[in-house]
Amino acid sequence: MTITELLAQFANPETIKTLSITHKLLAGLVTTVLGMGITFIALILLQILISSMDRLINRGVAPKDNTQATQASVNKKSDVHEAQDDNELVAVITGVIAMQLKTSVDTIVIKNIAKIEDRSPLWNRAGIIEQMNSRL
């Protein structure tokens, strides 16, 4: 029988019982090849798109040295969304602290998820008012 027929019988809870163990394993192998193949195709396609997005958007942005860049990214983020939890930040801080102070990571965690200030006092208003100021 063809692989398609095999897969069909394999996928059917009734007919699978009729399959020999070899057939089952073959079907399992096909599934694995298909599954890993498609997973890789999808994620490689994403990789290509994201890399090209990078090239399209950020032209001539040179990486800075560690400390500065970190600083920057931290500040920049905290501008972008107010007081949101920032994994990179956690990373750096935890890393450093882990080496020296042995402070509980919790404290950092708690700080990070300070609830963001609600930016819209009336439902669907915030955006409006901002643009009014820009427009009028």
Binding site: A91, V92, G95
Partner: protein, 387 residues
């Protein structure tokens, strides 16, 4: 006066108490111990464990379906179902897991992945555990394809994805699968390090990686849109999970809908987590849970984690054959997701060799890529074995 007392005694739970139910209550207590004392994923295991307890209380019937009467275009509820039955509809109709994914998206920073897209390859490789485990489950002869797929997905190390797939393909295994997934996610620091050390040389573990580039706000906003479109086009059945994950992330990155981001990652995800956890646990009735299948699932699940770890590490080593600037293979293991734990495992194992080596930021890339990877794998399995 004696009669009614006897009658009432017959109606108590003691009368209907089975050894199975007693064992399951013990299981529930063990899970509560792991969750509360050992801090194994408490946010999920506490509700799950309590659900196990509630569903095994005799006579209580908290998962009992309602008794309906349908006539002349009216649906009458003769006897209402149990509370957990109604909440469970959110699982088996596939509503809760995507909503949890929306909250996860609102909490997740994909910056490290955008800064280093190669991470996606590692996130893909780590899904190997899913499919090898699938083969293992098949060859055990205990499971059909749907059940084997639901077991394999444990290797995705991603709770909502596992629950989403299992609820579609093998709802009767939801309990053991969810319990295995969350228990092993909590045990990642025990499972992964030996495998990582076995497959890498000291020299490889000491590789330092250059500072990640900054990621612009525009990239952060475009990312969720691109991922949604691309993944949904290649694997349509994955679009619900990926779509909601990315919607949550767009709430976060757009910066203009703070209240929606806040609610999706707090009130909403918490409410759903309670309902999901309790009802997933409630599927673990004695007759369903106390089987050889459950033992097989627990055994297969841990192998899935191990193979996934190996897959990530080995692909990283392979990539180093081609890359000018080598990557530290330890970040490959983070591809199994279990965010952010396996990423921190990479860092800690790396620091064992070189205390000045900070891998965490680099490991976050494969880590979040693993979430996307396992959602894609789930989509493939759903399209192959779904009704």
């Amino acid at each position: 006066m004696l009669e009614p007392i006897v009658a009432f005694c017959k109606s108590t739970g003691f009368a209907a108490l089975t050894p199975g139910a007693i064992i399951m209550m013990g299981v529930a207590c063990i899970l509560l111990y792991l969750a509360i004392v050992k801090k194994f994923e408490p946010l999920l295991l506490v509700p799950i464990a309590f659900g196990v307890l509630l569903t095994n209380l005799p006579v209580a019937g908290m998962m009992a379906p309602p008794i309906l009467e349908i006539k002349d275009n009216m649906i009458h509820t003769i006897e209402p179902g149990g509370l957990l039955y109604y909440l469970y509809q959110g699982d088996c109709l596939g509503i809760f897991p995507p909503l949890i994914f929306m909250g996860v998206g609102a909490m997740t920073d994909f910056g490290p992945l955008i800064a280093n897209p190669k991470s996606l390859l590692l996130g893909a490789a780590a899904q190997l555990g899913i499919f090898i485990t699938f083969i293992g489950a098949i060859s055990s002869g205990l499971f059909n394809a749907q059940e084997a797929a639901s077991i394999g997905i444990i290797g995705g190390a991603d709770g909502p994805t596992a629950i989403f797939l299992a609820s579609r393909l093998a709802p009767h295994l939801l309990g053991p699968i969810a319990i295995a997934a969350y228990s092993y996610m909590a045990m990642v620091p025990i499972i992964q390090p030996p495998i990582m050390r076995l497959l890498t040389t000291k020299k490889e573990r000491m590789i330092r990686m250059s500072q990640l580039r900054e990621v612009s706000k525009r990239e952060r906003i475009l990312f969720p849109i691109i991922v949604t479109v691309v993944v949904s086009l290649i694997v349509p059945p994955a679009s619900t999970l990926i779509g909601m994950l990315m919607l949550g992330n767009l709430f976060r990155e757009s910066g203009v809908v703070g209240r929606l981001e806040d609610t999706s990652k707090n009130a909403l995800i918490n409410i759903i987590t309670i309902f999901l956890g309790v009802t997933v646990g409630a599927t673990a009735s004695a007759e369903r849970f106390l089987t050889v299948q459950t033992l097989a699932i627990l055994a297969l699940g841990v192998t899935a984690f191990g193979i996934g770890t190996a897959g990530g590490v080995l692909l990283a080593k392979l990539m180093n054959k081609f890359l000018k600037v080598p990557i530290n293979p330890l970040i490959g293991s983070a591809g199994v997701s279990a965010v952010p734990m396996s990423a921190r495992v990479s860092q800690v194992v790396g620091q064992k060799e070189d205390p000045g080596n900070f891998l965490l930021m680099h490991a976050m890339g494969p880590n979040v890529a693993g979430v996307i990877g396992s959602a894609v794998a789930a989509g493939v399995l759903l399209s192959l074995f779904g009704k």
